[in-house]
Amino acid sequence: MSVLVDASSRVLIYGIAGNFGRFSARDIAAYGTKVVAGVAPGRDTREVEGVPVFQNARSACASTDADVALVYVPAPAALDAVLEVLDAGCKVVVYPGDGLPVQDAVEIRAAARRAGAVLVGPNTPGVISPGKAKLGFMPSFCYTPGALGVISRSGSLSYEAGWRLTSAGLGQTSVIGIGGDPVKGLNAGEAIDLLHADAETEAILYLGEIGGADEYAVARYAERDDAKPTAALIVGASAPPGKQMGHAAALVGSKADTQAAKVEALRISGVHVAANLRALVDAAQAALRQRETITT
């Protein structure tokens, strides 16, 4: 099993005629993902990479039964494009773009929930279920099928982590980029719920950072009696307070925002915390071993 996307998902790429859209159409199809439709409003493109292109999501979904959308539009157009694919019936929507106003993020998150859909993003590379399907622009070679469910606030860190895990022979069920913004569709707690329910996922690796409260949701999960073994890496130990570190949410404003406070909370909850990137694979391995102990 996998979460959010698998080989049967019928994917629509909104903004398929742009650079990201064209590359993704080729790239995720090459990974085995079923790209069934593209949308390019205001362009007379009829086809991109062999995929039929439509003027709007409604006709794209009606003609192709697309049920999953990958949306590549600039931030000022994101609210409208996401509402459009939700209205068209897509039940999983990935919006990778960054620079989305918080107000619009609140709006699309609420709209997705009303529609009974899952929104991933903004500011995320997307979701990959290695060996099955990929919804985003993470480098495919970093991933291999396995038993670890991964959640990351940072795109680049998730590639690095995936590559390290894969190199060490630790495969993944799904790698979910939840994104670095303060308000997002799927947040850490909700992503964990998906991995928790996924039978193939034996342990969870969480990649977090300073600022925000996602890490405390992970800690709360780890305290559950039925929690799967969990490992984590939290970056930003060297970040100075009061400065925004790239991500809109990565800012140390209070003590709870610091890497140290988060690491402590996670440790107390029984999470295998990697002290730094070097220790990442070991922490993941410890979580997987813990699972073996439980199951045997």
Binding site: S156, L157, V183, G246
Partner: protein, 372 residues
Amino acid sequence: MLMTEHAGKSLLAAHGIAVPRGNLIRKGNQVRSLKQSYPVALKVQVPSGGRGKAGGVLRADDAEQAEAAAGQLLQREFGGERAQTLLVEPWVEHTRELYLGLTVDGQIGGYVILYAPTGGVDVEHQEPHKYAFGSPREFRAHALRELLASAEADDALRERIVVMARRLVFLATAIDAITIEINPLAVLPDGKLLALDAKIVRDEAAAFRQADVAEEIERSRKREPRIVAKALAGNLMMVGLDGEVGLISGGAGMTMAAMDMIADTGLRPACFLDCSSNPTPAGYQLAFEALDADRKVKAILVSIFGGGTHIDRVAKVMNEIMQKRKSRKPVVFRMNGTGRDQADVVMQQAGLQNYPTLESAVDSVVAAVRAG
């Protein structure tokens, strides 16, 4: 984008929330030309918390006292910054100080209203009551009222707070604010509310539809050191730090991971420079210019794990930059991700070494700094 108290209060007043009538001054002697009845409060306008505790607010009972206080406040630093302006306001008699705020909560994915029945400088000692409603359209006055029933005993006051909270919700959406904090919110002898302080944080991502935010971003960029300002103008995310290792990176997570790894060696990063918002030849050129010009920087680490950023293209750009570059500061590359096979070819042809792991690259750049 944290606005000054004065700018924040102007926004409150523009949307029907009462504030004291204040004036800005830049020099102590300007106090005398103000039409102002005494006593007054003089307040430094710096974007940092704890100003009251740090002595950034003074009371003056007449013009003479006010001029002296103003001179004193304009000479001191608050939160590492000297105030350019002071806000002069009537000193308002009030019976209580409350705390009322609106902010964004990542866990619920939307807005929350915060209330504490005792505001003022010591508000941190209490956990405010929190009404989480998410989308502005889901705000319900009756839900907030029920929450306040246990938090605020004064019935009439509670109703005024509910009305003001609704006003804050309207304001937050109208101006794309992600935090509005009124502390203290004064209760006047007649029961009315007056915002004695205002901390408003605007959403920088909304600059495309909020021209004043765009202008303020521009202004605050100009206040940064020249190098940082230039990088920011080029759409690079740069935070100036105090170390020796210049870091050209992509993506917030990996930038922090690389910084942490540098810090673990005992050295310090010279900056947080994330090129992922502008991974173009001009962007990288600018990044090198900034770090090459910075005397504190002894060596440069280029660390990119590209997803949307195709590193074969980055490799070509690096090759071009290295050929033209005049600085002799050592540069260490570690690039991986989308297009890495072609990138390796490009790097090899250019005679540039691409380290296989971040560990090896950091070791190399640290060695270069120590050798330099």
